[in-house]
Amino acid sequence: MSEATASQTTASGSDRPMIEIDHLNKWYGSFHVLRDINLTVTKGERIVICGPSGSGKSTMIRCINHLEEHQQGSIVVNGVPMTNDVKRIEQIRRNVGMVFQHFNLFPHLTVLENCCLSQIWVQKKPRAEAEKTAMEYLERVQIANQALKYPGQLSGGQQQRVAIARALCMRPEVMLFDEPTSALDPEMIKEVLDVMIELAHEGMTMLCVTHEMGFAKTVADRVIFMDQGQIIEEAPPHEFFNNPRSERTQLFLSQILGH
């Protein structure tokens, strides 16, 4: 119990909150997907969200950039409250980068063009400057030598690294990762995780839905466990893994770590 309070103090200890989710509720028809979610993420915090499939973890982080619409509660991103206004939503999206399970690169554009597209059209940068930024980030994810290839010519791990670079090119304040490694072959997971770990060490605010518990142990400030649309447990990794409080969490951990 005392440790739980301690985790909350660390969360609110640093400066202003980057994301504030307050009493968030969402329904698909009559199905209650997200139940009263409360979550505050401070700048530079790294959060790993796990839970069984269908528990609403993807839906929750997709609400943060309004890929999913919520019905009740409020979301404030970097001081900007989320409304249904398109301009407001686009303003928030510019600050929030997202990496998807299936990469979602644009297959008709080269790697370089993928990274430049939104810089040119959203940030209105000149092409040369956009390309320079793109090459910088492609260099950082170690894929600059493939810049002129099309996504279809790359492996899954390479594609996901391009997707990360594409999101970083917009210089976002927050990065959302929606199961970034679950569509990858085992031997490619590491190259993507390495990039993510490096990013975490640079102080990027990250929310990451993943089942990579090793990653959670290495970089997370907090691990959040969700089930049936609720946050069941929220704790620093060592506490979460060694000393889970709820039975549901214990069961989940025994299932994914037990074999």
Partner: protein
Amino acid sequence: MTTDSTFRTEMIEARDAPDQRRGVIGWFRANLFNGPINSIVSIVVIYLLARLIWPFLEWAVIDADWIGTTRDACTGQGACWVFISARFESIIYGFYPEAARWRVDIVFALLAILVAWLAVPKLPYKKWVALFALIGLPIIAYFLLVGGSFGLEYVPTRAWGGLMLTLTIAVLGIVGSLPLGIILALGRRSKMPFVKGICVIFIEFWRGVPLITVLFMASVMLPLFVPGNLDFDKLLRALIGIMFFWSAYMAEVIRSGLQAIGKGQTEAGQALGLNYWQRTGLIVLPQALKLVIPGIVNTFIALFKDTSLVLIIGLFDLLAIIRAGLTDSNWLGFSTEGYVFAAAVYWIFCFSMSRYSLYIERRLNTGHKR
């Protein structure tokens, strides 16, 4: 070296790939004569083909008459192409005044140059040429063909005819129905009920009526509703009808492409902060249109062939002008030549479009899986 034969200790040397190159004889042997039954079938089919094709060649080429200006030149057993060559001018220009036909030639030449420019990948300034072809050419063509300004003689559209009219209708139909179809397809997928409703009603109405009905409505019924002596040009009315009719088909072809683009593409665009028109124009449409190139070209080809239907409202397109020639008392009895020639012209245009679409598909292939 161990003597254990269960395991290899060395890699097997890579072998050369099997020989894929075969000559003509090799091809015949592999595809037509690779067994007694196939050989018999092949021989029978070749025999039947020869029996069918040879008489046609005899008629169309070997025994045909090519030179002359009147019916008297038709002395051979085969086709008399003099019928075509004597009327060639009217087949191309219709009733366009002879003194002004150079204007049509200029438009033809411009069209040919622009199409070639856009078709050959190596030529530069594609964007500007395309823009000129879409905006500049129609304006130039309008002033040249209609006349009545810049000291050019006025030529009413009822004097237009032949291949020139067919191409005018086809090109304007194609250029008009594609963008209209794109807008309708996007509208039909809109979340706004009003926009969606309008598009659905438009598409379903125009798809539900036969083109002939549309043309009749345009030429006979529309003037009844238009008040007073406001005179819409008959060709213009037919053109609008054809454009609307085919844009409805085009919309459904394009919608099928839009539906094939995964939701993830839109979401990735959204996550990057792109707005609706940017996502549509930069991400969804380029992929969707590429997917449905066969369907789009299929519609173009159908449109091109169906321009011949305008003959029922009294416009003299390629086919109508040839039919008119058949009733000329000097040239009775040459309908086979006329129709074979018309078919050949249509076929050349349609086949070119089909081959070009295959070429474009290959060129745009970026080897992607989604």
